[in-house]
């Protein structure tokens, strides 16, 4: 079995003393793409924020390469190889594409070639400010910049937000390919379930702060009703099952 990169064990977290996710356990292995689904307010984004250290969990453990992350600051986690592409893309509108690739902490080695290898379209946009890129280009830049860091764990929040499904269809396989090439673990929060199950090895469904479903990507692809039912908070919907039968 592949090396485990991220293990979340019975983690609870939230804002202002109110827990949004409760005793959630998730694990991600090297080279694996794990998708995290769930309706609005389920706690998907909160889970990613706990992993990258922006909020502190109120209980449970987050282990990265077997090491407890509790005491590491967000900056140190990023330097240890956790890359987080937040909602809203997390890029800097005032910096050009090339400047994004030069941007980094002291001593960080960034490989510009990785960016242009996975996203050749960015080569021509090198000197354009990120704020002037289209939504799809910005998302490409956000993913590309994080790939260039050679992360061990890549967290992507809503890659599809504000993008045409056609673009998402193009971006997701790149992520899949990168995970295979570099043995990086990917945790993907996604609303486009149908697109994400195509590339995900495993999927979790989070609803109201609890994991309600955990299965392989292939299984969910074969039975889409499973996800729908879990969104609604039930194991199955009898009349619908009958109707489709």
């Amino acid at each position: 079995m592949a090396e485990s990169i991220l293990e979340i064990e019975k983690m609870s977290a939230g804002y202002d003393q109110a827990d949004v996710v409760r005793e959630v356990s998730i694990n991600v292995n090297a080279g694996e793409v794990v998708a995290l689904f769930g309706p609005n307010g389920a706690g998907k984004t909160t889970t990613l924020r706990v992993i990258s250290g922006i909020i502190k969990p109120s209980g449970g453990q987050v282990r990265y390469h077997g090491q407890d992350l509790t005491k590491l600051s967000p900056t140190k986690r990023a330097r240890a190889g956790i890359a987080h592409v937040p909602e809203g893309r997390g890029i800097f509108f005032g910096l050009t594409v090339a400047e994004h690739i030069r941007l980094g902490y002291r001593g960080e080695v960034i490989e510009p070639e990785v960016v242009y290898e996975y996203f050749p379209a960015l080569r021509e946009l090198r000197d354009r400010a990120a704020g002037l890129l289209s939504g799809g280009e910005q998302q490409m830049l956000a993913v590309a910049r994080n790939l260039a860091r050679r992360p061990k764990l890549l967290l992507i929040d809503e890659l599809s937000l504000g993008l045409a499904p056609v673009l998402v269809e193009r971006l997701l396989p790149v992520v899949r390919q990168y995970a295979l090439d570099s043995q990086c673990g990917v945790l993907l929060v996604e609303q486009h379930v149908a697109l994400a199950v195509e590339i995900a090895d495993r999927c979790y469904v989070l609803s109201h702060g609890d994991i309600v479903l955990h299965d392989s990507g292939a299984a969910l692809k074969a039975d889409p009703d499973l996800v729908v039912a879990s969104y609604m908070g039930q194991r199955a919907l009898p009349d619908e099952a009958e109707a489709t039968a």
Partner: protein, 679 residues
């Protein structure tokens, strides 16, 4: 006027222009690196200047040779930078931009007071460090040091511009400035970046302080107030461009120098007879330049996407105002009669200051606009009273009423920029306006006080004098008369009750809605423009009343009675105690320099008012850190049960960056969405 002369004066302007540009550089560094509109940069340069002076002249006991003194001064500047970061910047990194600006105001007041306490008010001729001598250019002698200043600051500008463009550190700073949270996710450390930038700012200010030695003597006013033209220069550079800021600063200095040349001509307007050029034209010019810069550049000042708490201090509904008014009013009325004259004078000043602060409660606490110009409006009313009497023989009560109306008119005009400019931008504009009104308006012999002071007649009605020189002296004896004190107290109580009522009225609710969110207020059908202008009218009227009372209480007023420093002190103390409530204003007024508390300190402990400013500045920063709403809010909510805790990152994070590159579409959304104090 010859062309050659003009050119010579332009070259001479390179000196002060270079200093303005240098301080402007500090403003830009502070804003880009730490997200602070820093009005204390000039004060840091002044501290460095005094440090060098003291080291060279042996004021500390040892006289150092120039190279050693320079080295030690720069080390001192670095230490100052570290202190500034640790005390004013780091603890407030999540505070609103306005709170950050007010914190630098605290530093400025403390620094000025410290210098006056240590070295006195007189200017010190500094030992120059630049080579002396002149060159003959365009038929005039120009000091070589002007070119040195220009060259050194140009080199620093190019250095910073290069660093910000090409190094990882510069890119990191720009990224963190745009969105601190995202920068953290990239493994950058915003705290470290902020620290390095603050130290770079402080070091640059150290150099400016050293260079200033060659063209002017050091004192507690010149360099700190040079931040006003420097802010104008930085505004042209949108607080981000080193190059534009440098050029703009230089041009402002040259224009000032040119005005000095023009003053020698007979066609230049005079005041108080020929040979006396009209004062304050330079300050007026800077104000106009700033307004122009605002018009053209304000929408392009990038808002910072850092993780900040945008909540405003609460403005709770007043609790039983009548009870408080009777209880405290009776106590004050008794004290006015019974206290010895010195304490009575302090108490009356505090009452007048209370009315001034009431004006800030309305405009800042309720409407959410921090305007420095309120004290100047008091001055407008005060000088109107004085000149109505000396020029037209109009006396109380008509003079006072006309004075207040005049203050309202000017106040509403001053409110128009606030329809477009908010938050920190408004502070900067009104700060320049205050400086201009003080020098151009109040310093003018024709309609101000000139250098001496303008006489104000005692107020009397039907021949009954109740001014501060009235014959009734009460139990404490001596002037000012308790009659004037009671009159002031009566007005204070009436205005206080009126503002309490305002807070409870429909208009008050609309003001709070505008303060919280202008767009949402407009969406619910509130006419934001009218509410703001009415707010300015009410606040200006109140400020006018306090100005008139101040004029009557002194019997003679000067430009400094309503000066920039008074205004900044009032704002500082207002912020410490609470600028959003009536009890807060009353308590703050007891504390202001010149007030009751200040007199008690002087009488009992022999402590000068500067000690109060010195401590007050630090208290201001501490209040902003620990009780962001001011301590007076404890009356309403009780003391905080837990020590103040920083809001968690996650709640405030991922606010999309408010500005697009190069001011592209969306830039105008910058601050409008979260209007008022928070922006």
């Amino acid at each position: 006027m010859s062309l050659n002369q003009v050119l010579v004066f332009l070259l001479l302007g390179l000196g002060s222009g270079g200093l303005i540009a240098g301080i402007g550089m500090g403003v830009v560094l502070s804003y880009r690196g730490a997200g602070v509109i820093n009005i204390s940069v000039g004060a840091i340069a002044m501290l460095a200047g005094f440090c060098y002076w003291a080291l060279r002249t042996g004021d500390f006991g040892i006289t150092f040779a120039a190279p050693w003194a320079v080295t030690l001064t720069l080390i001192f500047a670095i230490v100052l930078g570290l202190f500034f970061e640790g005390f004013c910047v780091r603890p407030l990194r999540r505070a609103s931009p306005l709170a950050k600006l007010v914190a630098t105001l605290g530093f400025l007041l403390s620094a000025q007071a410290a210098v006056i306490l240590a070295f006195g008010e007189s200017a010190r001729p500094q030992p120059a460090i630049l080579p002396g001598g002149t060159v003959l250019l365009f038929g005039g002698a120009v000091q070589i040091n002007r070119f040195w200043i220009f060259g050194i600051l140009l080199a620093i500008t190019l250095l910073f511009a290069g660093i910000f463009r090409w190094t990882k550190f510069g890119l990191g700073t720009r990224a963190a400035a745009e969105n601190e949270a995202n920068a953290t996710l990239f493994g950058l450390s915003p705290n470290r970046l902020s620290l390095v930038n603050t130290v770079a700012m402080s070091l640059t200010m150290g150099i400016v302080g050293l260079l200033a030695a060659s063209i002017q003597s050091v004192d507690s006013q010149t360099l700190p107030l040079m931040v006003v033209p420097a802010l104008a220069a930085a505004m042209f550079g949108s607080f981000t461009s080193f190059g534009i800021t440098f050029v703009a600063g230089l041009l402002i200095g040259m224009a000032e120098s040119l005005l000095t040349y023009f003053e020698t001509f007979s066609w230049f307007p005079t005041s108080g007879g020929p040979g006396n050029p009209i004062p304050g034209v330079q300050e007026l010019m800077i104000f106009v330049i700033l307004v122009i810069a605002m018009l053209f550049r304000a929408s392009r000042i990038p808002g910072r996407g850092d993780i900040i708490d945008r909540r405003l201090p609460a403005a709770p509904r007043p609790k039983a105002p009548m009870k408080g008014a009777i209880r405290w009013g009776a106590l004050a009325a008794f004290a006015i009669w019974a206290l010895p004259y010195g304490f009575r004078e302090g108490l009356i000043y505090s009452l007048i200051a209370t009315i001034s602060l009431f004006s800030l409660v309305v405009i800042t606490g309720y409407v959410g606009q921090l305007s420095v110009v309120q004290i100047s409006l008091g001055g407008v009313a005060g000088f109107t009273v004085s000149h109505l009497f000396t020029n037209f023989g109009i006396a109380f009560p008509w003079a006072g009423i006309i004075g207040v109306i005049f203050a309202i008119v000017i106040g509403v005009i001053s409110g128009f920029p606030a329809l477009r400019v908010r938050g920190v931008g408004l502070v900067v504009v009104t700060l320049a306006a205050t400086d201009a009104i003080q020098n151009f308006g109040f310093g003018n012999t024709t309609w101000g006080a000139g250098n001496t002071g303008a006489a104000v007649p005692s107020p009397s009605i039907f021949g009954f004098n109740f001014g501060s020189n009235a014959t009734f002296h009460g139990l404490g004896g001596g002037e000012p008369s308790p009659l004037f004190g009671w009159f002031t107290l009566l007005l204070t109580i009436i205005i206080g009750l009126l503002i309490c009522n305002l807070r409870r009225s429909g208009l008050g609710q609309e003001m709070l809605a505008v303060r919280a969110n202008e767009r949402a207020a407009a969406a619910t059908g509130i006419n934001v423009r009218n509410v703001k202008l009415i707010g300015f009218a009410i606040a200006s009227g109140i400020a006018g009343v306090s100005g008139v009372l101040l004029a009557y209480s002194y019997g003679s007023i000067t430009a400094d009675s309503y000066g920039t420093l008074v205004a900044l002190n009032f704002i500082a103390f207002g912020y410490i105690i609470g600028i959003t409530t009536v009890p807060g204003a009353v308590q703050a007024a007891v504390g202001v320099p010149g007030g009751l508390f200040a007199f008690a300190l002087l009488d009992w402990f022999g402590l000068q008012g500067n000690w109060l400013s010195f401590v007050g500045g630090f208290l201001l920063v501490l209040t902003l850190i620990h009780r962001p709403g001011g301590v007076a809010l404890d009356i309403f909510y009780g003391p905080p049960k837990k020590p103040f805790k920083e809001r968690p990152l996650g709640r405030m994070i991922f606010r999309p960056s408010p500005v697009l590159a190069n001011g592209a579409a969306g830039a105008d959304v910058t601050e409008g969405t979260t209007a008022g104090v928070s922006s």
